[in-house]
Amino acid sequence: MTLLLLLLLQSPHARLEGRVPPAALPGLDSLIEQAVAESLPTEPLVQKALEGGAKGIPVPRLVNGVRHGLVQLRDARAIVSRATPARASLDGDVAAVAAALARGLDPALIERLLSAAPPPEPAPGEPPGPVLHAAADLVAHGFPADSAAELLRAAQQQGLHGTRLLDVAVAASHELQREGGRTPVEALARVRAMLPNVPVAAPPHPRTVTRRAGRGS
């Protein structure tokens, strides 16, 4: 109980104090208060401020970076509200959509992906993060946004959900890089034909040996 109380008492201001330049604190406090007043999640803003402090970003750019984060959260909530009007927007959903916006995903595409809830998946309440990241991965690899959304929707209809959707994006990029070359349209068609049996993506760094990690190690 004491621990819980202690954590609850740790305000964003307390977390930022000593981690960002003192001159940035009033501006950051104000932005976080705005987020609270608008019922937006504050953790992404706190993280952005901590990141700026750690990187030694000058105060004006640091505050602007957090302000930009607040704008993205507002946009994200608007997208979530339009896409899923029947349910209240969750902080996690808003943060995931804001992250997708930060990755450069088109707002209209995000809205389409969120509103598309083909049976039987995603299950109600399934976090939108994986499907948005999968779409962002596909777009980043040069696939047309509309085709990427269609492929992901097809994958969902075939029962893939959560991080398995990331495997769809990985499979598509592998098809694109296959020797002999495939066009994006051919690669997407090939992956669509595989569904739902796309291979599980291998860990990105197979050389690494897992070890026990320690704070400050």
């Binding site: 954590l7 930009h68 991080t163 400050g216």
Partner: protein, 195 residues
């Protein structure tokens, strides 16, 4: 109140020889001096001591168990109480776990970077509140390939490598990147941890 005989009083005060008292006063004198002696010298073991000794007496075999079960009272200043609570909270609640075995909602994040000649490489990111010094990579064979792995909560994490304590580098092998939003076009690496 009974008035004491002046001769008896003088004898008790040491001003008269008790042997010179009349017989009835000598008897009273003897009773009073005996009573005074009892009051002056308390018994070696009081009733209270004997009762407490009985209460404390325990079978030898039960003593260790009772020691473990016996309530202990600590007296701490409030500032120390908060410090202890903060330390316990840090151990229990921080997402960084000193374990290579992930839980149901966790996964192993692996980091590899090629930094020949670097003296140190660490990973700083949203999973450790962008705190420096939390996750150092290792290069045991000095081939310039630094690596490390850590258990993290499933989900999205942004991070950077910090080389030699001053150079911030986005992981070239991350595959996913996101603009850091500070206006200089710098990108953070993006990691998605699978449960």
């Amino acid at each position: 109140m009974t008035v004491i005989d002046p001769r008896l009083q003088e004898a008790l005060d040491g001003e008269r020889d008790p042997a010179a008292l009349p017989a009835e006063l000598r008897e009273a004198y003897a009773r009073l001096t005996a009573a005074a002696a009892l009051l002056r010298d308390p018994p070696a073991t009081s009733v209270a001591d004997r009762v407490m000794a009985e209460i404390r007496r325990e079978a030898p075999a039960r003593r260790p168990a009772n020691w473990l079960l016996r309530p202990v009272t600590f007296r701490l200043r409030p500032v120390w109480t908060l410090a202890v609570a903060a330390a316990v909270a840090a151990v229990v609640f921080l997402p960084f776990r000193e374990s290579a075995t992930p839980g149901a909602e966790e996964g192993v994040a692996q980091f590899v970077g090629h930094f020949p000649g670097a003296r140190s490489v660490e990973v700083v990111g949203s999973f450790n509140d962008w705190q420096r010094g939390a996750l150092a990579l290792r290069d045991e064979d000095h081939d310039g390939i630094w690596h490390g792995a850590v258990v993290l909560p499933a989900g999205q994490h942004e991070y950077m490598f910090v080389v030699d304590g001053e150079r911030w580098v986005a992981d070239p092998l991350a595959g996913r990147y996101v603009d850091d939003g500070f206006g200089a076009g710098q990108q953070n690496a993006l990691l998605i941890v699978r449960p």
